[in-house]
């Protein structure tokens, strides 16, 4: 019976991301490759941060709850910093790869722009991050029971799914802003991305006050989305043209008659 919870939470968490993938990335093999590579980089950063956390937990005093909580906060902060570091490393790698790709390809222009790479790598980070956030929760949601027998809130599955959706989309927006800031050497923007990532991760410590953690996260999501939109070259005029299907560049690129 709670297969419904399983499917519901899966679609809530991954729905927007899968939709984005299907409509914008799936047809271009190069984009798919860079998405998966981006996911891999996130994975490596998680590996390193979990290694550090694991060792520190083994060394620590397992009985002291305060110490364990402190260790958890330390782990979260370290993980965020490592993820952003690996995002930067991926940016550097992509810059180098771009030059190599240009020499290899037979066309004169770059097959994929740095802006597309930013979007794709951000989404890759997001997919992997979302998977690791939510897959174990989904696995347990298949059983007949729901959370609550020890007094925890019932809305655990639902709020986890919404949080994961927010994190995936946030990773995508952060990717775009980050790469753009690195291109234009605006280091304050890079710092802002890191700080906002830290804020969102630390907001999860508010759980089980799900309102207190989800609402600010969605506010940050909206703000980052607007920022990413502008840094990717969008404007209100573009938006209007796109929505009414009168944007010439878009139409030309997709060979569709008006």
């Amino acid at each position: 019976m709670t297969a419904s919870v399983f499917f519901g939470c899966t679609f809530i968490a991954f729905g927007p991301a899968i939709a984005l993938f299907l409509f914008t990335i799936a047809r271009e093999p190069l984009r798919v490759i860079f998405l998966i590579a981006g996911a891999f980089f996130w994975l490596v950063s998680l590996l390193l941060s979990s290694l550090v956390w694991f060792i520190s937990v083994q060394i620590s005093n397992k009985d002291s709850a305060v110490q364990q909580k402190g260790l958890l906060i330390f782990g979260v902060v370290l993980s965020v910093l490592l993820q952003e570091t690996f995002r930067f490393a991926y940016y550097k790698l992509l810059k180098k790869a771009n030059e190599g790709l240009l020499t290899l390809s037979q066309e004169e222009t770059m097959p994929i722009s740095i802006r597309q790479l930013a979007y794709v790598s951000g989404l890759g980070f997001g997919f992997m991050s979302g998977a690791f956030s939510v897959v174990n929760i989904l696995a347990d949601s298949v059983g007949p029971g729901t959370v609550g027998i020890h007094g925890d809130s019932q809305h655990y599955f639902l709020s986890s799914a919404f949080m994961t959706m927010a994190i995936i989309l946030l990773h995508m927006f952060w990717g775009v802003v980050f790469f753009d800031a690195c291109e234009k050497q605006r280091w304050w923007a890079v710092a802002a991305v890191v700080v906002s990532h830290l804020i969102v991760s630390c907001l999860t410590f508010q759980n089980p006050e799900y309102v207190a953690s989800l609402v600010p996260t969605y506010i940050i999501l909206f703000l980052m989305g607007v920022w990413a939109f502008y840094s990717a070259g969008g404007s209100l005029r573009n938006l209007k043209l796109c929505l009414t299907c009168k944007d010439k560049d878009f139409l030309l690129a997709n060979h569709r008659p008006r």
Binding site: M1, T2, S4, V5, F7, G8, C9, T10, F11, I12, G15, I33, I36, A37, A39, F40, L43, V44, L46, L47, S49, S50, W53, V57, Q68, L72, G75, S79, S129, F132, S133, V135, N136, I137, D140, G143, P144, G145, T146, V147, G148, I149, H150, D152, Q154, Y156, F157, L158, S160, A161, T204
Partner: protein
């Protein structure tokens, strides 16, 4: 790109880190696993299946603690959230409630019975009213007047619950902290407030006890033989174990069949018991009192039968599987008829069986005999002689023996299977005149508490082992009487009788070890070291179990007890002892004797146990119904056809369930 293949390797190595501290911490938030789960399992015979069944993925039901029988209509009709999983206190575990639940089984997901810490006041026997009705001696052919308990209903308090078929799981829970969590969960979430239905989320429980076998024994044995896959899975196994027997004088066991000069008195008792739930069978009054008395009698007779051996040999036999249509005794009779046993039925002179003897009122014992075979005058004379010998034996003892009404048939006993083969004179000693006095026959309440075996609270385990209880003293009297009667019946002289007495110290140790705790210093001395791990801290479980290569706990305990009590210690090396010989050149001893290397005790100033070799005439004989081996007649009405189903998991857990509407809306929003 190489990165792709690397990625999957790395993937495998990482555990989930992001939110929790372990991979299954979410599961811990949802489920509370039950530690102590005792199910009722499915048993099958030639025509029926009995017991309980759950679905393959466990039965989930909303918890409901039943307050009284009237409260049942909430479960069966009024409650808005079926199916329900009913929690019953022991007092409510009655036939009427269980039958109503069985009939409403589409709204009942399962039942959990809370076993109390002390016995209830009401009698309770899940067995049928007429035990082993079709496989005893009283059939239509033998004498229709006595068939199907026409004359005496032996177990009138029996409600037959253990022989009903339920299609939901029934588990037994102990009355401890886990059960308190369950009751608290019910009170917090499922209580009916002012007649209105309780709100979601509700507390629920899931029980797993899926049984593989269905329909009857023939079907499941046929399915056992299907060999499609590489690893074939069986679905059921026949019940059985081993009988333990010993003789007062060595008999050549390698030579099977009739022995010309042997005249044997069979002194029989049964070993096994059962209850409604699996692997719980304390069997105190129904079997332990009987075989402990016989063991003590065998010990009392050791010196007399060696110094002044009587004419006839006494064969002490302890039958396993008697609860399930006389598995052990039917097998022994079959072996005797087919020359597969050391003696055959022509060698048997008479039978004396010790039944339930623990609850004597006014110190009276009743000597039951079979009226149909006594119509033959020679059989009648022998039976009269046996009764006289018993009366002589009981003089000077705190026991009076009486005979019940002449027209009363034999109670359910292993002797009935011997009578079924041929009319042999015999007596069954019981403590009830007609119907059973045992109020908890074959139930989980037939335990040490029911026999009034209690110890002062300040004793250590070793002191409790040695403390002589009143029950032990009473049983010692019975054992002495049985020993003396056997001696006279075997042709011994009456002058030796006063020297034949059973030891109360021995009886109380046996009662403690079998009914309270088998892992004690005395038992550790008399068993070999490889059996040490099989001694438990709980009362011995007398359920016969499936027939496999390893004997069950009661069988090996009685085997080593009997060896210790009737055998002699011989000065033989460990290697010779384990090879069944006295020394390198001995080829003959293994025909007559059985050698066992046992652990022995730890001397006061040492740490190594002083092991030694015991030579005795104790042997095991297979107790598997002839219907399985060799006959393979799985629909037989002659022999026991009981099998036990196999299963994969037995577990239970409790959790909260959310309402169906919430879940559907979640899916829609996804």
């Amino acid at each position: 790109m190489d990165l792709l293949s690397n990625k999957w390797i790395v993937n495998v190595l990482i555990c989930c880190f992001f939110i929790g501290v372990g991979c299954n911490s979410v599961e811990k938030k949802i489920y509370v696993h039950l530690n102590y789960t005792v199910p009722c399992v499915r048993l099958l015979n030639a025509t029926h299946q009995i017991g309980c069944q759950s679905s393959l993925s466990g039965n989930v039901g909303v918890l409901h603690v039943l307050e009284s029988e009237d409260n049942l209509d909430w479960v069966l009709s009024k409650g808005p959230n079926p199916p329900y999983l009913v929690i019953l206190e022991a007092a409510l575990f009655t036939r009427s409630i269980m039958m109503k639940l069985k009939n409403g089984s589409n709204r009942v997901a399962g039942v959990a019975v809370v076993a109390p810490n002390t016995n209830p006041t009401e009698p309770f026997s899940p067995y049928t009213t007429c035990p082993n009705e079709n496989t005893g001696v009283y059939t239509e052919k033998y004498d229709p007047a006595y068939a199907h308990c026409n004359v005496t209903v032996w177990n009138p308090l029996g409600n037959g619950l253990a022989y009903e078929e339920f299609d939901f799981p029934i588990f037994s829970l102990k009355d401890d902290n886990d059960t308190q969590v369950i009751r608290q969960c019910f009170l917090d979430h499922n209580q009916v407030v002012n007649g209105s239905a309780p709100q979601y989320p509700l507390c629920a429980m899931q029980l797993y006890s899926h049984m593989s076998a269905v329909t009857d024994t023939a079907t499941c044995m046929r399915r056992n033989d299907i060999n499609f896959s590489i690893s074939p899975e069986g679905v059921c196994d026949p019940l059985g174990d081993s009988n333990v027997w010993a003789s007062s004088r060595p008999i050549n066991t390698t030579q099977k069949g009739h022995k010309n000069s042997e005249n044997v008195i069979i002194a029989a008792a049964r070993l096994d018991s059962r209850s409604f739930f699996f692997d719980i069978a304390p069997g105190a009054q129904s079997s332990v009192t009987g075989f402990v008395s016989l063991l003590a009698a065998a010990h009392a007779l050791r010196n007399a039968t060696q110094e002044a051996p009587p004419n006839r040999t006494i064969l002490y036999t302890f039958f396993q599987g008697e609860t399930f249509d006389y598995i052990g005794s039917s097998r022994m009779v079959y072996d005797m008829e087919n020359n597969q046993f050391a003696v055959d039925l022509d060698n048997v002179h008479s039978v004396l069986e010790v039944g339930q003897v623990g609850l004597r009122s006014d110190s009276q014992l009743w000597l039951h005999s079979d009226p149909v075979s006594r119509r033959n005058s020679s059989v009648n004379d022998e039976v009269r002689k046996l009764i006289e010998n018993l009366q002589v034996a009981s003089k000077d003892l705190n026991v009076t023996v009486n005979q019940p009404q002449a027209s009363q048939p034999l109670p359910p006993s292993s002797f009935q299977r011997f009578l079924r083969a041929r009319p042999i004179p015999g007596i069954v000693i019981e403590d009830h005149q007609s119907v059973f006095t045992n109020r908890y026959y074959e139930s989980m309440y037939d335990n040490a508490e029911y026999l009034n075996i209690s110890y002062p609270s300040n004793l250590t385990a070793d002191e409790q082992l040695e403390h002589i209880t009143e029950t032990a003293t009473a049983l010692t009297e019975v054992a002495t009487m049985v020993a003396r009667a056997l001696y006279i019946q075997a042709g011994g002289e009456e002058s030796r009788l006063p020297s034949i007495t059973a030891e109360a110290r021995l009886v109380t140790r046996m009662l403690y070890s079998l009914l309270i705790k088998s892992n004690n210093s005395w038992f550790q001395e008399i068993i070999p070291s490889e059996f040490m791990s099989r001694l438990t801290e709980k009362p011995t479980n007398f359920y016969v179990g499936v027939a496999n290569w390893q004997s069950s706990e009661p069988t090996f305990l009685v085997q080593y007890l009997l060896a210790n009590l009737t055998g002699t210690v011989v000065n033989v090396t460990k290697e010779d002892c384990q090879h069944q010989r006295e020394d390198d050149k001995d080829k003959e001893s293994h025909h007559l004797y059985h050698y066992m290397w046992v652990q022995g005790s730890v001397p006061p100033n040492g740490t190594q146990r002083e092991s030694f070799c015991v030579r005795s005439t104790v042997h095991l004989s297979k107790a598997l119904s002839p219907a399985f081996d060799p006959l393979k007649e799985y629909t037989s009405t002659e022999y026991s056809t009981w099998t036990e189903s196999r299963w994969k998991t037995i577990k239970g857990r409790i959790f909260l369930v959310a309402s169906h509407e919430l879940e559907v809306s979640l899916r829609q929003s996804g």
